[in-house]
Symmetry: C2
Subunit: 350 residues, 2 copies
C-alpha cells in the first residue's frame, strides 16, 4: 500500500546499510542482531511498506509445513466424515505446495484413543494444529504442550475454556436451537412437540448441543408458553429400541406433529418416519449429511439447519496456514459460520 513498486528485502538492506542476512534475521526475529540494527530495520520496513513475497519465501523454504488435524472419526457419511472433506477444500491449488495436512482421527467416545492420536500427532512435528475437542481435560493437556512449544492451534466445532488458541470456528449453538424451533413451528402456535435426544455417555465430554437445546426451549417458552416439550431418549446403537420408544410415545400422544433432533443424526429416524406417515408433520434436524439431505428431498424431513463442518475446517486450516506462512493473525478470534436453512427446494444445489 505504501509504495507502488514492491520493495524487497534488499531495499531494506540498502536503506539501512545492513545486509539481507541481517534483515532476514529481524524479519523472523530469531535474534543475533543488535538493538540498533533491529530498530533501523523495523523503521525501514515501516517506511517502505515492505511486504514479504510469499512465493519467494515458499520457494526458498522448500515447502514442508505440516498442519495436523486432531478430530474425531466416524462412519462414512457421518458428521465428522463430512467435516474431513474440508481438508481437501483447504488445500487450494493456489495456496498448496507449501503446506500439507495430516488427519489424526480418534474415537469420540474414548479418551484413550484421543491420547493415542495426540501422541502420533506430536511425533509428526506439526507447525500448527486444528482441534475438535471432545474431552475437556485431555485436550487441555494437549494445548498446554502445544503452547509450550509455540505451536499455534485453532479450535473447531467446540471451544474450550483455554486462552491460548489462535482462533475458533464454530456455530452459534444457542442461536441454532432458536432457529430450529422457528423452523419447526413456522412461527405458528403449537401445543406439544417432541424432541428426540441421544443418550450421552457418563464421561464428562463437552457436549455443545446443550446450548442448542437451551436456545430451542427458550424460543418455545417465549413464543408459546403453553407448549409442552416432550423428550424421547434413544441409543443410536439400538435402532429397534429407539423405534419402539417412538411407537410408545405416539401411542399416548397421537396429536404431536413436530419432531426435532439436536445433533446430526436425524437420519436415524427416517425409516420409522417413512413407515409412519402423518399429515402436517414437521421434522427438523441438523447438518447436511448425505442421508439427511436425501430424506429432505423425499420430504420426510422438513428442514435442516446446517453449519457446514467442512467449511469450518477449511477456514480453520486457512487461518492456521496464514499464521504459519505469513505470520498473519486472523481478523477475528472467534468466528461463527452462518447457519443455512435447507429445505427440499434448495437442497439440490449443495
Amino acid at each position: 500500500m505504501a509504495n507502488k513498486a514492491k520493495s524487497t528485502i534488499l531495499d531494506i538492506a540498502r536503506l539501512t546499510g545492513l545486509s539481507k542476512g541481517t534483515v532476514d534475521r529481524v524479519l523472523h526475529n530469531r535474534g543475533e542482531v543488535s538493538r540498533k540494527s533491529y530498530d533501523a530495520v523495523m523503521k525501514a520496513i515501516q517506511d517502505l511498506g515492505y511486504e514479504p513475497n510469499v512465493y519467494a519465501s515458499m520457494l526458498a523454504r522448500g515447502g514442508s509445513h505440516l498442519i495436523a488435524v486432531l478430530m474425531p472419526e466416524d462412519e462414512p457419511g457421518g458428521f465428522w466424515s463430512l467435516a474431513a472433506g474440508g481438508m481437501e477444500k483447504a488445500l487450494d491449488p493456489l495456496a498448496s505446495g507449501g503446506v500439507s495436512i495430516e488427519h489424526f482421527g480418534y474415537d469420540p467416545t474414548d479418551v484413550e484413543s484421543l491420547k493415542a492420536a495426540a501422541r502420533k500427532m506430536w511425533d509428526s512435528n506439526p507447525s500448527g494444529v486444528v482441534i475438535a475437542p471432545m474431552f475437556r481435560e485431555a485436550t487441555l493437556q494437549i494445548t498446554a504442550a502445544l503452547r509450550s512449544k509455540d505451536i499455534p492451534y485453532v479450535f473447531v466445532d467446540t471451544k474450550l475454556d483455554d486462552l491460548g488458541y489462535l482462533a475458533f470456528f464454530g456455530m452459534p449453538m444457542y442461536r441454532s436451537g432458536y432457529l430450529c424451533a422457528d423452523q419447526l413451528t413456522g412461527g405458528l402456535p403449537v401445543k406439544s412437540l417432541l424432541v428426540v435426544r441421544v443418550q450421552r455417555d457418563v464421561q464428562r465430554m463437552s457436549d455443545p448441543t446443550v446450548d442448542r437445546r437451551a436456545g430451542f426451549l427458550d424460543y418455545i417458552h417465549e413464543h408459546f408458553p403453553d407448549c409442552v416439550v416432550h423428550n424421547v431418549l434413544i441409543n443410536p446403537a439400538d435402532i429397534p429400541a429407539a423405534e419402539a420408544a417412538l411407537d410408545e410415545f405416539f401411542e399416548s400422544h397421537p396429536d404431536t406433529r413436530q419432531i426435532a433432533m439436536f445433533n446430526s443424526r436425524i437420519h436415524l429416524l427416517v425409516p420409522w418416519l417413512e413407515r409412519h406417515p402423518q399429515r402436517g408433520r414437521r421434522v427438523v434436524g441438523f447438518d447436511n449429511l448425505e442421508a439427511n439431505m436425501q430424506a429432505l428431498s423425499r420430504g420426510t424431513v422438513s428442514a435442516l439447519v446446517c453449519q457446514h463442518p467442512d467449511d469450518q475446517l477449511a477456514l480453520a486450516i486457512k487461518a492456521l496456514a496464514e499464521r504459519i506462512v505469513l505470520g498473519k493473525y486472523p481478523a477475528r478470534r472467534d468466528n461463527f459460520v452462518h447457519m443455512d436453512i435447507l429445505t427440499r427446494y434448495n437442497v439440490d444445489f449443495y
Copy 2:
C-alpha cells in the same frame, strides 16, 4: 501423486536428454519444439507425475496478471456494490501477489456506458475477464473480441448464449423462484398473493428474473391451483407512486397476506410496510443487501433468499486465476451457488 519426491523441470530435462528451456516450451506449448521432443517430454511428465511449482513459477514471472471485472455499478448498499465486495475476498493473502483485480463499472441501464467500460477494460490489457452481462448484443461483441485474443472470460449472475466462456457462476433462477414461493406460503394453502415487480426499460436487456418468476408461478400452480397471483408494477425511481399503487391494491384486496418481489429491492417497500402493519403477513424477497437484512431483523421482511453475489464473484475470479496462473480448467463449467434462506433468526451471523 505419482512420485513422492516432487520432480522438477530439470528431472524431465535429464530424463529426456533435453534442456529445461525446451521442457518449458512444451509446458507452455508455445511451439518451437519438434514433434519428437514434444512427445518425449509429455511422456516424461506423465511418468514422473510432474506438477509445476506454483511458487517458483510466480516468482519467476514476476507477478502482474490483471483480472478485469466488467460489472454494473449501483448505489452503495445495492446489489452490485455487494457483489463488488467479492473482489477483496478473492484476493486471498496466500494467493495474492501474482494477480491484481480492476473493476470496470457501468450503468446497468445504459448500453453506451458498457461499451465505454469495455474500451477501458481493453486498454488495461487483462489476462482474464469477469463479465456480468446486462446487454446481450454488446456483450457478445466483447466476448468475441476476447476469444480472438485468447483471453479467458467467465460469466457471473447471468449466462449468455455464448459458447466460449470458461465458466459461469450464478444462481439457479427458476429454482430460486420455486423456493421463494415455498417460503412465502410455508407450504400452506393461500387464496391470493401479491407480486411486486419493477418496470423494465424497453431495451432488450437480459433479465434473469423472468425465470425466477416462472419458478414461482409453477410452484403456486402446482400446489395451489386456486390461488390468484396479483401483480403491481412499480418504478424504483418514483416511490410515492409505488406506495400509492400499493394503497390502491390493498384497498381492493384487503385479505391478501403474502407479498413477494423477485429482485433485490424489497427494501423499497419497507417504509410502506412498516406504516401498514398487518397481522399474519409474510414478505419474501431476495439477496442479503444491508437494507434487506435490517428489515429482516425488524421482522418486516419474513425471509430472504440469498445468492451471495460476492461469493459468486470471488469464485469467478478464483477460477480465472487458476486458469491463468496454472492453466487449470474449472471442474464444472456451470456452477450454481447454493441458495441460502435468511430469517430474522439466522441473519445475525452474516
